[in-house]
Symmetry: C2
Subunit: 335 residues, 2 copies
DNA sequence: TTGTATGCGTTATCAG
DNA sequence: CTGATAACGCATACAA
């Protein structure tokens, strides 16, 4: 690379000072006379100098970058979340690098290793499937979990209101008159994760009202996609179970269900009422618009960023566990 | 930071070799005997050593990171694009860092500076609004433009089939019997950008058929959002122009229009036919599903990554200009 | 207020 | 095949 790297040395020569003085000017440190500062700034401008981040990092041990590992950048939900995290990090002077884990426990564990290799100062890990984690030998790397695995309090943790949110959504459908409420969710119903927590909220709401629940009304997905939701809707329509309400594990899945019910000529909310989870931007614009559990994403992002930065400052501080506040957005799909 | 950094020095001591040998093993270089290699690998495993990327970068001048600057990570289209770029970059051994420009010329220009500051090896810039660019003093930084500004061939450039795609979509609506076809697009109709190119395709198609076009049928957006599309649909419905076809500048806007027409009791495709642009995943799942111009995103991502990596290797190679192939996906909204 | 010496972890070069 | 030495660009500690 013939990259015409301009160094502090060059700037120093150009300004007729030592490179230490240039460093002081660059970092806004006190103790530089105004005329000298001006001469240096001018030299920087003329030479097109830029600090070498690698050199600075090598010296300081910090990169100023926080990793954000999500299962899937393509998903509406994670894109939405990422934009909030980026905004919050920026105001604290951090840059965000987005990692894709591919929604598997392996990818999520790998993200931690990768994050360290890339020398992020900390990591916000949106863990969906990871439910066991071998503590690495040299721990104390600042990790904040955004999801349902709390690993027994070993990590800072910002959780979605999974159980309570789904309970409220399910109860809402029941109050609207639904008697046969199905749930469409992921396949793995063991461990403590998004899927199981939401399933529990669903069962709790039905149990409180003496309504049917359980396996026949559970429709499993093979992936958190619209396509999977659509396929599930077809199975629901063809099941002959007389389903009149559906709780979906996410809004993305819920949009697929909406589509799948339309394929079978079922009307929403006329024949079937629907509720989702996440309140992605699309939920307010679908036809019909989606009733959904709306966690406070801004709050979550702010909390997560606050937690990583705090842990970066003091790696040994006690961990904190938080659950995001939420609101049930009642829209056309359940009206 | 008491970060228990393990260095090559430590590994070397542990394996009873010099740190140069460790470096050779880590980088799979030839000329290391098998027994020594094994001893080193074992020492690495035991110590939990990881290369220090900053140090390597400082020495080599390369970070192995490609920047991808998009207006908005939250948007469905850019999330979709990003996932393709990440996949393509990975197979070439590069990592991708996503930058948000905020859809303004200033942000887009800033992304270039930021990208250099962060020492990305190259930048893929999805420029939406930037249409003039002051060449920086020390040029030859590997930049690939993904958008409509080609800056007179000064940059590698992968374009969407804006004009041709919109022309085909508009023609399709006309063939389906639409006579009053409106276009919903951004406000700035000067310069050469996504908005103007698509507008020209629309006008060309109508001119070929002697159909009305021009200002009364042009509905301007204040942003590329679903909310803006919805508002535009309200204006269309209330305009009294008898609009029976609408071409939307993006699918995201188109979804908003779909919603806005529903608000006014207009049926799609019964009363109004609709066509979008991008073929985001949601387009196939809306009710009705969207007819839309589907550029080959995978192709675009592959080409863009290929171009940056090639330019990273040889900064002085001639620039290339490409237009993505596309297909018109005919779905329910125009059927 | 400014300058000098030193080292961060890695790798290129060249000697053994 | 392996090892010693010298940078890479910056910032800390200390000297002037």
């Amino acid at each position: 690379m013939g990259h015409g790297m301009v160094t502090m040395e060059d700037v120093a020569r150009l300004a007729g000072v030592s490179k230490m003085t240039v460093s002081n000017v660059v970092n806004n440190r006190a103790g530089v006379s105004e005329p000298v500062r001006r001469r240096v700034l001018e030299a920087i401008r003329r030479s097109g100098y830029r600090v070498n981040v690698s050199a600075r990092t090598l010296k300081s041990g910090r990169t100023g970058v926080i990793g954000l590992a999500v299962p899937d950048v393509e998903s509406a939900y994670f894109g939405h979340l990422a934009s909030h995290v980026i905004a919050q990090a920026r105001r604290r002077g951090f840059h965000v690098a987005i990692e894709e884990t591919g929604a598997g426990a392996a990818g999520e564990a790998g993200a931690i290793a990768h994050s360290r290799t890339l020398q992020f100062d900390g990591l916000i890990l949106s863990a969906v499937e990871l439910d066991r984690l071998e503590e690495p030998a040299d721990a104390h790397y600042p990790i904040v979990m955004l999801g349902e695995q709390d690993f027994g309090g070993r990590f800072d943790h910002v959780a979605m209101p999974n159980e309570e949110g789904t309970r409220v959504a399910t109860a809402h459908l029941a109050e609207r008159g639904c008697r046969r409420i199905a749930i469409v969710t992921g396949g793995a119903l063991e461990g403590v994760n998004v899927v199981t927590r939401r399933y529990q909220g669903y069962r709790a709401a039905l149990a409180e009202r003496g309504l049917d629940a359980g396996p026949p009304l559970l429709f499993a997905l093979d992936g958190m996609s619209m396509a999977a939701g659509r396929a599930a809707a077809h199975r629901i329509a063809d099941s002959g179970l007389g389903v009149d309400g559906v709780v979906a594990v996410t809004d993305t899945v819920c949009l697929g269900i909406l589509r799948g019910l339309a394929d079978r000529g079922l009307r929403v909310p006329g024949d079937v009422r629907l509720a989702g989870f996440d309140d992605i931007p699309e939920a307010a614009f679908s036809v019909p618009s989606l009733t959904t559990v709306a966690p406070d994403h801004r709050w979550m992002a702010a909390r997560a960023v606050e937690l990583v930065t705090a842990r970066i400052e003091s790696p040994l501080r006690p961990t904190g566990q938080y659950v995001a506040p939420f609101e049930l957005m009642i829209r056309e799909s359940s009206d």
